[in-house]
Subunit: 307 residues, 2 copies
Amino acid sequence: MDRSLKSLGLNSYHLGWDNSIEPRLTVSSGDRIQIDSLDASGGQIPRDGTALQVSSMDFSRLNPVTGPIFIEGAEPGDAIKVSFESLEVADWGWTGTIAGFGLLADDFPESSCFISKVGDMSVELPFGPVLPKIPMIGTIGVALAEPGIHSIVPPSIHGGNMDIRDLGEGSTLLLPVAVAGALLSVGDPHAAMGDGEVCGTGVETTATSVIRVELLKAAAPRSPVIESSGISQRTGASLLTTGIGPDLHRASIDAIRSMIDELVRRTGMAPLEAYILCSLTVDLKVSELVDAPNWVVSAHIPLSVIR
Amino acid sequence: MDRSLKSLGLNSYHLGWDNSIEPRLTVSSGDRIQIDSLDASGGQIPRDGTALQVSSMDFSRLNPVTGPIFIEGAEPGDAIKVSFESLEVADWGWTGTIAGFGLLADDFPESSCFISKVGDMSVELPFGPVLPKIPMIGTIGVALAEPGIHSIVPPSIHGGNMDIRDLGEGSTLLLPVAVAGALLSVGDPHAAMGDGEVCGTGVETTATSVIRVELLKAAAPRSPVIESSGISQRTGASLLTTGIGPDLHRASIDAIRSMIDELVRRTGMAPLEAYILCSLTVDLKVSELVDAPNWVVSAHIPLSVIR
């Protein structure tokens, strides 16, 4: 079954999850939709963006998502299956620290801005490293059952700002529906990102995606489930640092601090640059969480990026 | 510089980190050492092991490690660099749940035992799935500065029971030295394991490894650092489940429960079998830990294992 492509443009965005927002598009199960997405700043950071522009962003305009899309027949208890058919991002993107935000907000208290060139296959950072280009959607979710407006920043079991690197071309996502019509929205595209997104931003960019939406009756998963194409997986030799202790969040901080030490020592880059690089290409894994009282978090970077 | 191979056999083991244990071998920087390691049960689970044998194990004999090895000239503040030259495991291994132990100890309160066949390239579970064989060392560390005996179960910043999948052939490990001579010990080999080792055991087996030890003066990392060969990385299409909420440990539990749901639904395997499979081949990643108050943990399984 192939249907004509519906579309939602850059003007159809909203700022917060709110199940009273009027749908901008109504689709049936099986429909394909082309979606244009703003970057996470809502267009506030230009191609020559600076730290000052990051620090003076209007925070009420952050994290716009395109939608909502009403899926006919969707009811609480159902699942929405989203297939990512294609995902095109712009030829540049920004990454920055935002004062008070990010895993190491205490270590890097100032705002910063780094503009990367995005090519056909790779992303070139302004301070040297070249990363594989892995276009992905940071935020995709459905409206919550609770009335009122809810920040788009934290994710929930209904999806939202999950920042899972596998959410790109060739992958499918199952989301549990919470309200009639589901009210699906999509935004926050990245040209590259590491699992953890530790500084709080990826290579933030605009995108045009084509998704296909299907309704699965009474098939709500307890939390989002993804089938990944594997495109986002990196292979080959890598450098690992560790954080070890009784709290996984603290262990994650320790692992990233240790990675920053290593990157600075091995490459001579600045600590802030190393932190940015961690956010874009370091993956955080839980290596051990059964040998009480201490757990192990490992931070992985492909050696190809720093050699 | 190549030196004659020194060796440590199965009798040279100890049960706990204790810096007063007499060294079983003294080596110089640059020496290569062949090390035989018992399995994590200390030989209590035979090739035809049963759940009863797991439940009646003498817990005081668990987690033996071969050593300690005194490295001449090593002092606190130095680093020991261990290169894994080769790692051979036995042709079988056991995996089980141990009452009261493991990430989902409440869901799976009974002890169990599953014996796998370990071939040249793969590990065959008794209930069907075939996994890539990825020999690794679960426990490697140096003695702690604090006097007395310390359990080998929890890892520390001086290493120990880290259960990092990359600790195998072709990789190198840097450990911070805490006492004179470092007192390195090695054990807990696995033929396969998923990052997280969620049920508490991998494919537990015996092994013979060859390592090379180097002393790096005044180069202690703040926590163990690894250069991985990449051999342990899996590629290709995968299934992801998620856990989303304010606590990474709870989110890990949720992600694994959701993965068990999916495995049971897709393959018809029993929930306990799915839990065991998670421990052996599911990797836990921290996808997001900056968008307060909710974090995302994703659990990844290669689709090749369940198709």
